[in-house]
Symmetry: C2
Subunit: 244 residues, 2 copies
DNA sequence: CGCGAGCTTGATGCCGATCAATGCATGTGG
DNA sequence: CCACATGCATTGATCGGCATCAAGCTCGCG
């Protein structure tokens, strides 16, 4: 068998028009022609190893990033050192929107596994979206969706109990994974109990205990970070007020 | 004394270029010429009586609203009826950004006192911001600022204790009032203890008790909704981890 | 093989929720 | 103008959920 020329990932053409995430990512709803306009803008990718930061709070803001592969968390840190996970991002989701307001990032974005992102230079996005109405509108929708998502998290943090929070979190994760073609019932958590706890406003022990409780009740199976959802409907009941 | 002709507010010319809020509102950072372009877009005002809603969750989204006078709250409601105040808006702040994502509003906006808003038809805002780079950029900054604000609320809800939450809330309110030319030390709350509690993820009794505690400690004076801040620095200490 | 990061589980305590009563303003109708 | 109702706020007593403290446990990895 003759050896093929080595694959050099860096040289791959980065092109939204041929990306399998285009139905989830920035290009949603754009025509074929419009998407091809994006190809000129999204010219580079960046690889981020597990544990490394894509950007940090305080860094100057230049670009947005679309997750191509991998998994991220974003964290805010208060002056007194307290910190809070504000979100988990997977393929097709945008990172960096926080930076637009002050030209500096206000959160840390950390890769929870080896990841790749597409770099979207922000000034180019602004000028392209002046030309292409659909792109402009799509971008606004993405920002608005982030605001709506944040409101949902506030509801969760402000008025739900531990079990309800974890159940809501798991259902949200599985929905997003399912939209990406993964199983809706089986998943591997990319984050620690502590990170889940930070996101949900709980301590890691409470997260662990709640997983165990769900397991005892037959709602799911937990083996470390491997989760099998056995009764999605049961979890949904927990999210609402099932005091079971 | 001769009677003056009656003032008919509806006929006042609505003009961003002559609005005293232009340094706080959408026009921030725009040149005189650019602001005059806004005058054509922001053509109408709407009056909302105390207790009435400007829009409701589920309403179709057409316009953004800039608070001109008065005070609003926004609430999300879960399917099970639980609800959560997601923000309080005062003069110069924008309402309705949540609606862009799905063309329907996802929160209720309720006036907490008799209020007036400027109506900003969203399709006109999009087309104007295709023409005027500074407007486009300013609008993006406002959306991004909302996202950053939401992250701050998540930090508060996820990792602060009752006293810290209330202190942070009061300092935030006074800062915003001060930016509008009001005293930084004396304010009248436009919302009930229950609404504060909902926003902060606390019960109204806890809010009330915490006010009393701050008063006992000499940090402020409370007389129903009248608040006098005596030691802003003391409140700031509470926001960080003063276990006092 | 043994170390360490992450996870589980138990015992205890505290913060804020809940339940309940009273107080205080505003407004309405007699 | 007062009596009473109503909505909101305060304060007390008790309870419960989650945090905290503390031990082991599991698993991947050098």
């Amino acid at each position: 068998m003759t050896t093929l020329p080595p694959i050099r990932p860096e040289t791959f053409r980065v092109a939204c028009s041929s990306c399998n995430l285009r139905e989830l990512c920035l290009p949603v709803g754009l025509s074929r022609d419009d998407v091809e306009q994006l190809d000129g803008m999204v010219a580079t990718r960046r690889t981020v190893a597990r544990g490394d930061t894509l950007f940090r709070s305080g860094d100057s803001f230049q670009s947005l990033y679309a997750v191509r592969t991998g998994f991220f968390k974003t964290c805010v840190t208060a002056e007194d050192g307290r910190d809070q996970v504000t979100g988990f991002q997977m393929a097709g989701e945008l990172l960096g929107l926080d930076g637009i307001s002050t030209d500096r990032h206000s959160v840390d974005a950390v890769a929870l596994e080896d990841s790749q992102v597409c770099v979207i230079p922000y000034d180019q996005l602004e000028s392209l979206s002046r030309e292409f109405t659909t792109l402009q509108h799509q971008f606004h929708k993405i920002m608005s969706r982030e605001i709506v998502r944040d409101h949902g998290v506030m509801l969760l943090l402000g008025s739900m109990r531990a079990e309800e929070r974890l159940a809501a979190f798991l259902l949200n994760l599985t929905q997003r994974l399912q939209a990406r073609g993964f199983s809706g019932s089986s998943l591997i958590l990319r984050m620690t109990r502590e990170e889940i706890g930070s996101y949900l406003g709980l301590k890691l022990e409470t997260v662990s205990r709640t997983f165990s409780k769900f397991q005892d009740e037959g709602l799911l199976e937990v083996k470390q970070r491997q989760i099998h959802i056995l009764q999605p409907a049961g979890l949904q009941k927990v999210v609402n007020g099932a005091t079971a």
